[in-house]
């Protein structure tokens, strides 16, 4: 069985990620279907106690996997924004990097 740590910690992490994920302002995160689903599932299986039966372990693994998904998508998107989000430089900018300016060609390119 995978080393998952504390179910309560997983639940808290997952709810936190869902709170951040909710895109639209105005709607409280508690109304998000995913938020309600996760809370209901944990309550139904009581996956916060110390000893876990097989069904509880399966739910915990699923929750930990979903947490990993949400967290990794958020981190990947942040890295993408920071390092890859600015698009290409224009030819003018590239020329400027090495101290050149592009020639003026009033008649268009030869």
């Amino acid at each position: 069985m995978a080393a998952l740590g504390s179910p309560l910690r997983t639940l808290r992490g997952l709810l936190r990620e869902l709170r951040h994920a909710g895109g639209r302002a105005g709607r409280p995160y508690r109304e998000m279907p995913a938020y309600q689903y996760v809370l209901a599932a944990f309550r139904a299986h009581r996956v916060t106690s110390e000893k876990l039966c097989r069904a509880q372990q399966e739910l915990h693994f699923q929750a930990a996997t979903y947490l990993c998904l949400l967290r990794s998508v958020r981190e990947h998107a942040a890295l993408h924004q920071e390092y890859h989000g600015k698009g290409e430089r224009s030819p003018e900018e590239v020329a400027g990097l090495v101290g050149f300016t592009l020639p003026q060609q009033p008649g268009g390119k030869g």
Partner: protein
Amino acid sequence: PPERKRFYQNVSISQGEGGFEINLDHRKLKTPQAKLFTVPSKALAIAVATEWDSQKDTIKSYTMHLTTLCNTALDNPTQRNKAQLIRAAVKFLETDTVCYRVEEPAALAELQRNEWDPVVTWAEKRYNVAIGSSTSILGPNIPASTKETFISHLASYNIWALQGIEYVITQLKSLILSMGLIDRHITVEKAVLLSRLEEEYQIQRWGNVEWAHDYDLCELRARAAAGTLFVHLCSESSTVKHKLLQD
């Protein structure tokens, strides 16, 4: 082409004849091949809806891994049936990452032994097969009986779950690590670490480059997590009897 702007306010799910559907305002979500987007599992539908509701100003489809997996299952663009998916999955065993060992450098060879031997042993015990590992450029010699066992085992999964399994195997480059995930023997973080063992070794030696290494790490974790979650949600007893999953 520029990213599509978010064109909907509300995302909700509803239950239709074929399964659960995703509603973007009043529009029903469709697949790339214009089929109605229907999934056999309510939990999966909720997770897909969450992906759509998480989009801010523009729709970043590269972050929507569960949606992508569902689209693949519905459209089946590579036109593969169950047997073909299983064959593709088991074929990976011949070049399984955790069976392919180096002899040098000695530190990496030892790291591979320490980290990969336990998971190979686990798979051998769990499935009662011989797998082993090899430093030969040809890779390990997998007995036919071992392949038969895995073919037989994978046949017990429905075609949606198999799309997910084949996806995870392709991402992790390992059937054994993927089965470790499906069987809940290792976490996604551990499976990805083991899949990227050589990269991690090089990072330890030469340093980390955030914009490349962490970028790849997060992406692989996201994909492996999505694939694993997809497989489990499509295999739950509440889901399994669904029409969509019958061959």
